[in-house]
Symmetry: C2
Subunit: 307 residues, 2 copies
């Protein structure tokens, strides 16, 4: 099965302890698509400006990603600049130029209408809900959000969460959304808002999936997949979106949601996130092989496997 994603395509300018890059291809939909493309066919819904080049579109096309949902608008593509200084887990934003993203109204190509697996990357919650409602053959919806919407568009977000099957956020966002500092209890509060399952991403420590009682008919014990930075962390940008791409891409490739599929999906999420951070931007995600991915899956599996 294919997976569709709606989110940003951006040009990023990034400084980290490893160096600096300017105006490189980025954005949540980009990282997600590339990561998911190693598992299944991917469809993108996004908007770019007149400065988006055929060479940049080719980054998607080379991975068999369907770009018919990338709308060309008048103006410039969304730009973001940020720095990772002492703390590689947190970016200091230098600038955000929304440009064509400011008036983004996602348009779904006719060819995407049979989409069954959907990921709503981090955009305004009402737009997320609109996309979900337009695609009425979807059987599993994943969703991301951030502190900006949790604080500033809480009511809209709560409406969106009712349409979502799996929410993927980090520890800080989960605790903020639930107003609760104990992780398992925060998870239960978020699950009561709508999702069947909640994936909480712990950065270099991996991720935990919590289930609602009876979710997917598979019981409610949580499951955790580890992660480990294998190489140097060069650029953390896009780690979460790459995680989501591995997670959703693997589920879509299996075409069914069982406990074992979700467990393996969580491992693949950690694997894709760990690759993404090894180079600036999408460089590492562009050059992977499925063999490298499965080799790292085995490393992460053995990392916690008791006889």
């Amino acid at each position: 099965m294919s997976v569709a994603v709606v989110g940003s395509v951006a040009f990023d300018s990034i400084t980290s302890p490893s160096g600096s890059v300017e105006n490189i291809l980025g954005g949540a939909a980009t990282y997600f698509s590339l990561a998911a493309s190693y598992f299944t066919k991917v469809r993108v819904v996004a908007v770019v400006g007149e400065d988006f080049t055929p060479a940049q579109e080719n980054v998607f096309k080379k991975h068999g990603i369907d770009t018919r949902g990338i709308e060309r608008a008048k103006g410039k593509t969304f730009r973001w600049g940020g720095q990772y200084l002492d703390n590689l887990n947190e970016a200091k934003t230098d600038f955000t130029e929304l440009n064509v993203f400011q008036s983004f109204q996602p348009r779904i190509p006719k060819e995407y209408e049979d989409t069954q697996f959907l990921f709503l990357a981090n955009i305004q919650p009402t737009l997320q809900a609109d996309v979900r409602r337009k695609l009425n053959r979807v059987c599993l919806t994943g969703c991301d959000t951030m502190n900006f919407w949790i604080r500033g568009a809480r009511e809209e977000l709560l409406q969106t969460l009712k349409l979502v099957d799996v929410l993927l956020i980090n520890d800080t966002e989960a605790k903020m959304l639930a107003a609760e500092s104990n992780l398992p209890r925060a998870a239960q509060k978020v699950l009561a808002m709508g999702p069947q399952a909640l994936v909480i991403k712990h950065g270099e420590y991996g991720a935990t999936i919590f289930f609602r009682e009876g979710a997917f008919g598979i019981g409610h014990h949580p499951f955790r997949a580890p992660a480990l930075p294998i190489e140097e962390v060069v650029d953390p940008t896009g780690a979460g979106d790459s995680f989501a791409g591995g997670f959703m891409g693997y589920i879509a490739s299996q075409g069914e949601v069982s406990r074992e599929v979700l467990k393996r999906a969580l491992f693949y999420g950690g694997v894709m996130g760990s690759f993404a951070v090894e180079r600036f931007g999408t460089e590492r995600l562009e050059s992977l092989t499925r063999e490298e991915i499965d080799a790292r899956f085995q490393i992460f599996r053995e990392l916690t496997h008791l006889e």
Copy 2:
């Protein structure tokens, strides 16, 4: 096999979001002993003042812990006061009264001389080394330390690390000791200082053990055990020492160091740490059963187990 521990016995005054307690029994050697006592016989080397009561000694004795190494000195027992406010992972120290601990010179009872498993809790590194040298039948030495010694007694600490088999510290301490922010590379640098193995504790995310090439003849791939706060975190004090108690206690109970024993020991460490934080002070550690411990071991095992 029994395990001996040298470290502090203290009276703690603690404030957390769950409430406040004053002058309750604490200290690294106390938490370690109680946690380890569920796995094997424990011997304590520590110093207390004239204010240490038979009722307090009974907390140890009820768990079969050998207290002949607890020296009574003139003066008051070590006292510590601290608060956990927004961040349950970090205590703000209100006061530290070293009292009899200031001139602590560990004395090893004759009956402890055949000790084969030893844990050097967080005390001045030269004292740690002295204890290790006095016990010449030890086959496995575990060791803890903290930022205070890493910064303030680095040379002494480096001498001690040459005598240590397994160092147990947290992420921040490992990165500080190695002057390296990437966790696996920090681990390799610390292992080059002497220990065969390094356990890095990640708080609520569990712990990872890294091995030197050829350590214990069991290969060098790292292993991670997860953790998860099951109940409310009431008081994080002693979590790391309880982790060490479960880890060392389990190893001593097996009497041998294999890869599988170390993996299980890491899980038991996480289990004992997760119990310790559920009540103030040692309350939860005093009232456990081995059945409760093994039930939580299974929960943590299933938390990451892929078919």
